[in-house]
Symmetry: C2
Subunit: 208 residues, 2 copies
DNA sequence: CCCGGTATCAGCCAAAAGGCGGAGAGACCG
DNA sequence: CGGTCTCTCCGCCTTTTGGCTGATACCGGG
């Protein structure tokens, strides 16, 4: 069988060369190309179609990882996209998965786990680091804690530091409605105050 | 002259091997040891004293980078500590510098910049990535916007989502005093509400 | 066709937060 | 020594937030 070809996408040169060195130790895996940004990834993917694209979600500037995944999937060379990132934020996981990612591996994973993920992705299997899987699982098990679209929208403004009045104006709803949504959000996040909600949201959703 | 010996401290294996590969291209630089945590770094530094310690600030669990720097400096084998991290958060820079770091380099820096930083640190020179230096510079220019130690302490609890009452209990001060500190913090951060303060603080200070 | 989920709004009341002005004690510095 | 900074605390008043209860309307599935 031909070795699995991999395209690395990460804005840090150190991470790319580290990953290349690591994957290089496996005879059945070959890094065929690299890209430092979402835009570059799309271009490079044209020239060097790979079996697996390993992508960091947090790219310094320009297109973010999620957007890049969507575009890659649209261009659909049926290559599998494997998210390789530092954080296991709830929101990122969900967004990545529904952007079409085949797997989600954290940067602090053991080498064997990384290899397994690449091989799995190449075979069309879905692979997740344990902490990632458990987060996803928890969301499925506990739909009561999943925000509705409207609530999520409000939350994303809330964590900018807006007041109830400002939130109302932005969303074209009354302050009363804002309060209702907030009460629901607090309940779902397990907090009592907006301050705590912001703290939790930013940390847990990676909303920055 | 003997090559410069380097000790790498980072909880991500990928980053360590990438950095090792990168530094390996320079004849005058040799990586002599690695560590995956602050605790390990201290132990390893005993066995393999290096000229320069390259340290990530954000270590998964256990001792954080700042703490590790302090301890290393106390043990003082006069080795230079170079911070090598992803974020250029205001607070981290200040804390690292006064914990005794010789330099501060961002992970997305160009290879030449990284090499220069290592060489500079080995010679006892202070080295900073441009964005880092400019942040520090701005703080010196604008002392009105720098939080006092007490304010910073309060802020670090604030962004956990605590109420004024809770803040008071934690810091053994009255609620009145808490409000006074908060008012000063708001002024310095340029916000009017605690929600906005939390939002700004978490984003700008990287306080997570 | 009724029910559950979502989104919208209201009013009332208590608690929390914020603005304002003032003030004393200790530390540090020129 | 005098000025500045920092940390501490008070009271008073206004605004904001949060808790509670209840209500209307739309939509989609069983």
């Amino acid at each position: 069988m031909n070795p699995i070809s991999v395209l690395l996408v990460d804005d840090h040169l150190v991470v790319r060369s580290g990953l290349k060195a690591l994957l290089g130790t496996q005879p059945d895996i070959t890094v065929v190309a690299e890209a430092a940004s979402g835009e570059e990834a799309l271009a490079v993917a044209q020239q060097h179609p790979a079996d697996v694209v390993m992508m960091d979600l947090a790219m310094g500037q320009g297109m973010d990882g999620i957007e890049a995944i969507k575009r890659l999937r649209q261009a659909s060379k049926q290559q599998a996209v494997l998210v390789f990132t530092t954080y296991d934020s709830d929101a990122d996981i969900v967004r990545a998965v529904d952007a079409g990612a085949m797997g989600y591996v954290l940067k602090d994973a053991a080498p064997e786990e990384i290899f397994a993920a690449v091989r799995g992705a190449a075979q069309g299997k879905s692979v997740m680091s344990a902490p990632v899987a458990s987060k996803l699982f928890q969301q499925l098990r506990n739909p009561d804690e999943v925000l509705t679209p409207r609530e999520a929208e409000l939350l994303s403004l809330l964590i900018q530091g807006l007041s109830n009045r400002e939130l109302g104006k932005r969303l074209f709803i009354s302050e009363a409605t804002v309060k209702t949504h907030l009460a629901h959000i607090y309940a779902k996040l397990g907090v009592e105050t907006r301050a705590a909600a912001i703290a939790v949201a930013i940390r847990r959703e990676g909303m920055r």
